[in-house]
């Protein structure tokens, strides 16, 4: 594949990207907006009136609502038309995921069904399996679940103990084992179950019908949040699974599981935007009504700071989400055009390719949502702690995002590990560029030019952060070699640097690209970018310092520290006034409308 044609996963670390190379949310076309509106209308008509009842654990109601969403076609957005779906682009899928993300527990049940419950069969199943299951899953006639985690196998998913033994007549696999934390367990019709055949080292994947003899579904777990989603253990006692229900090849299960998790992470990254926007809108509405000391609390600087910061992080994350979504669409088209794989495989290959970005967006998205819902409760004061308010539900529901689809701890390790491995594989010349940079570390400058434009200055700041990443990775790799893999704290420092680079670059590119089309309204975008880059530079500085000082002391330690200081010197910004202007905009609109 031609390197010039698309940006490889992680390549943003070494390449300068132009605004016209990225997709921004301001470019959604009419049909995409209509699909998002349908998702929103559905939540308002069918989900929001029932949130309390759903949270009481009314499984039948959840099932009924899920089926209604299927009738409307929402479950078929990601599915090709030949299997009863609507074959939408990845950008559209993500926009739908964002919108549904404001649906609290429903969102979790819906996404589990449409994603991990359906797509392993779509992406890795054969035509018969797709015809039999995917067509019905896409219409909501069947509801799906995904069964990977076991009591002893969470983050280390391949260590599961479930077994599948070929029957004497060769017609069935006899499935035995126990799965836990299974979303939609209480009402699913089909399950994608992972187990090891005979004494295999690697998992295989199977489609199991919930009504097969020997499938026992436990009671729902009592959870902190997402109480409306059914989560239970499932036991398999000598379940006879027809051999034709194996998905893909024997021993391919672990690859399937990981690939599907890549997709799940991406979609989670989109889900959190919808939830965050809703919490922000709830917060500004409350702040615009609540008076203390005879003054609306939205007039207070402390509340304006919170509102602005909630907006800044959500807006920045959104920029990154749709940027990578379009990259995935582009890669998917190339894979399909070159007949390297069918539509299903092309989709999962393209999604899995962007492994650095999906881990970034999972970690960053889940953490910004936790920040946003926390501040939403705070803005509501005592009322925010009352179960009457949606922000209380949002606060509890948010927390799981840092745990499922791979914990944020695992994902941080993946960010660094994947970025380094892809570079070692030759996808981009991270180490060559880092080595070259290191040779002139004594003389490194921030590269500021007389008369540079606003965006030249911003992109230079981002470029400098990339140099920090290169120097830190170079230093850590040279100092520790293979031992680096055991130094998770340092790997996490690097992961956070990489994350800040991707998010701030995406934000800068979005701001630049939309400047012309938005005219005066875009001035607030510059405020968002100014504050974000100012903060991001200081976060990167701290993470790089932490990493460098945590490595064995060497002659070059102080040189590197100085270089980091130079490269992370962001332009001073009156952050108070910039945040006030951002807050003024949302206070005026009385909703998140950027």
């Amino acid at each position: 594949m031609d390197k010039k044609e698309y940006l490889k996963s992680g390549e943003f670390l070494v390449r300068e990207v132009q605004a016209n190379e990225v997709f921004v949310p301001e470019e959604f076309y009419e049909e995409q907006q209509m699909i998002a509106q349908t998702c929103k209308d559905f939540l308002e008509a069918e989900v929001y009136p029932h949130l309390d009842q759903l949270d009481k654990g009314d499984r039948e109601l959840m099932k009924e609502i899920l089926k209604k969403s299927g009738e409307l076609g929402l479950m078929g957005i990601s599915i090709p038309e030949e299997y009863g779906g609507f074959g939408q682009s990845f950008v559209t899928q993500m926009l739908a995921a964002e919108t549904i993300g404001a649906g609290f527990s429903f969102s979790v049940a819906f996404m589990a069904h449409c994603g991990i419950g359906t797509l392993p069969i779509m992406y890795y199943g054969n035509d018969q399996q797709r015809e039999k299951y995917v067509t019905k899953l896409a219409a909501g006639e069947l509801l799906g679940a995904y069964c990977l985690t076991e009591p002893g196998a969470g983050s280390d998913a391949n260590s599961g103990k479930s077994t599948a033994t070929l029957s004497d007549d060769g017609k069935y696999y006899i499935l035995n084992g126990q799965k836990m934390w299974i979303t939609n367990a209480g009402f699913c019709d089909t399950q994608v179950v992972f187990a090891k055949v005979d004494k295999d080292r690697i998992l295989s994947a199977f489609i199991v019908d919930s009504d097969m003899e020997g499938v026992v579904i436990g009671p729902d777990e009592h959870k902190m949040g997402i109480k409306g989603s059914s989560t239970a253990q499932i036991y398999y006692n000598d379940v006879k699974v027809p051999v034709e229900n194996m998905i893909g090849e024997r021993g391919e299960g672990f690859r399937i599981a990981l690939s599907i998790l890549h997709m799940g992470r991406m979609k989670l990254g989109a889900n959190v935007i919808g939830a965050a926007k809703m919490a922000i809108t709830d917060s500004v509405k409350y702040a615009n009504e609540r008076k203390q000391f005879n003054t609306l609390i939205s007039d207070f600087g402390a509340i304006q700071h919170k509102l602005a910061e909630m907006v800044i992080r959500t807006f920045a994350h959104e920029a990154a989400i749709y940027r990578v979504s379009k990259d995935i669409d582009n890669l998917m088209e190339k894979l399909k055009a070159k007949s390297e794989c069918d539509e299903g495989r092309a989709a999962i290959e393209a999604i899995s390719h962007y492994a650095v970005e999906d881990a970034i967006l999972k970690v960053y998205g889940s953490e910004i949502l936790d920040y946003v819902v926390d501040e939403a409760v705070q803005i509501h004061g005592g009322m925010g702690y009352s179960a009457e308010m949606n922000v209380e539900r949002g606060y509890r529901d948010s927390r799981i995002n840092r745990i499922f689809e791979g914990t944020n701890e695992i994902n941080r390790l993946l960010i660094t590990d994947t970025a380094i491995k892809r570079a070692q594989k030759g996808d981009y010349d991270l180490f060559g560029m880092a080595e070259e940079l290191y040779t002139r570390v004594d003389t490194i400058s921030d590269g500021a030019q007389e008369g540079e434009s606003y965006f030249e200055e911003k992109m230079r700041t981002v470029k400098n952060l990339k140099k920090v990443a290169m120097l830190t990775i170079h230093k850590a790799s040279n100092s520790l070699g293979r031992k680096l893999v055991r130094e998770q704290e340092i790997l996490n420092n690097i992961a956070d640097i990489i994350t800040e680079i991707y998010i701030s670059e995406s934000l800068a590119l979005r701001t630049e690209k939309t400047e012309e089309s938005r005219g005066e309204a875009a001035s607030v975008y510059r405020d968002i970018l100014d504050v974000y880059l100012y903060d991001s530079s200081s976060k990167v500085r701290k993470m790089a310092m932490d990493a460098v000082y945590s490595l064995p002391e060497a002659d070059d330690t102080e040189k590197l520290v100085k270089a980091v200081e130079v490269l992370t010197k962001a332009k001073g910004v009156n952050v108070k006034e910039a945040r006030r202007r951002i807050a003024a905009r949302i206070i005026e609109d009385n909703q998140y409308k950027f």
Partner: protein, 249 residues
């Protein structure tokens, strides 16, 4: 039987309304547009009738007067289920101008029933339906809360003060519809959205009829004063406030 539903393109109800040009025009910056809620319910009922066995309804069309910026609203009506759409490319400035242009659409097609919402949620003029019937010289019935077709007869129910009136109406006629005509507006299904792009939107030539009125000024409503809570143990304070502050007793 063919039904034409007139749809207006209005700001979403959550929009914070602002005015421009010395308060003579709506400031449309950043507005999210939707189908006028009364029109959306009319469309829903028209589609229900089309689906009802024996109703004889073969086609449901929508009509709009406005520039191409309203295309997303028209496309949404098509996604909900309308078969085709008509648009007159005129930025109408009052109800008379809208009704005059809509009459051109009716003349360009072949419709047995024309439905209009009783008002639009932006200017609340409540004029278009009646004026349209006058332009066409059709029967019009206002305040319709129920609409059905049985045995080839068009049956409407009108809401009166404290009661209802049930009528049989001839076709063609203009029905001016209020809430209650359908339970909830329909949500555009994925299949409908996909099909909408293939459905025709016919452009109809505008008539020269211009507006009869000119907006001198819009005045936004005063902000609502804060609510005062009175201790239930202190009715005297309530009386005092009603007498001296609110001056209503």
């Amino acid at each position: 039987m063919n039904i034409l539903v007139c749809i207006s393109h209005v700001p979403d109800t959550t929009t914070k309304i602002k005015f421009a040009e010395n308060n003579t025009r709506l400031d449309t910056t950043g507005i999210q547009w939707v189908i006028n809620p009364w029109d959306e319910l009319s469309l829903t009922r028209a589609l229900e009738l089309k689906e009802k066995s024996g109703s004889g309804v073969q086609k449901v069309s929508v009509a709009h007067v406005g520039p191409s910026s309203a295309e997303p609203t028209i496309r949404k009506a098509l996604a909900i289920g309308a078969d085709d759409a008509y648009r007159v490319d005129v930025e109408a400035l009052d109800s008379y101008q809208v009704a005059a242009q809509l009459a051109e659409i009716v003349k360009a097609g072949s419709f047995d029933m024309i439905l209009c919402g009783i008002e639009s949620s932006d200017y609340n003029g409540s004029n278009v339906g009646g004026m349209l019937a006058e332009f066409l010289d059709y029967v019009s019935v206002s305040g319709i809360s129920h609409l059905d077709i049985e045995g080839g007869e068009i049956l409407v129910t009108r809401e009166l003060d404290g009661g209802r009136e049930k009528l049989v109406v001839p076709s063609p006629f203009v029905g001016i519809v209020q809430k209650g005509i359908a339970k909830e507006p329909r949500i555009a299904a994925m299949r409908g959205i996909m099909m909408a792009r293939k459905k025709p939107v016919h452009l109809v030539d505008a008539t020269e009829a211009g507006p009869l009125t000119r907006v001198k000024e819009f005045e936004p409503p005063q902000p609502r004063p804060a609510c005062k809570f009175v201790d239930p143990e202190n009715p005297e304070q309530l009386v005092e406030l009603l007498q001296n502050e609110a001056k209503v007793i």
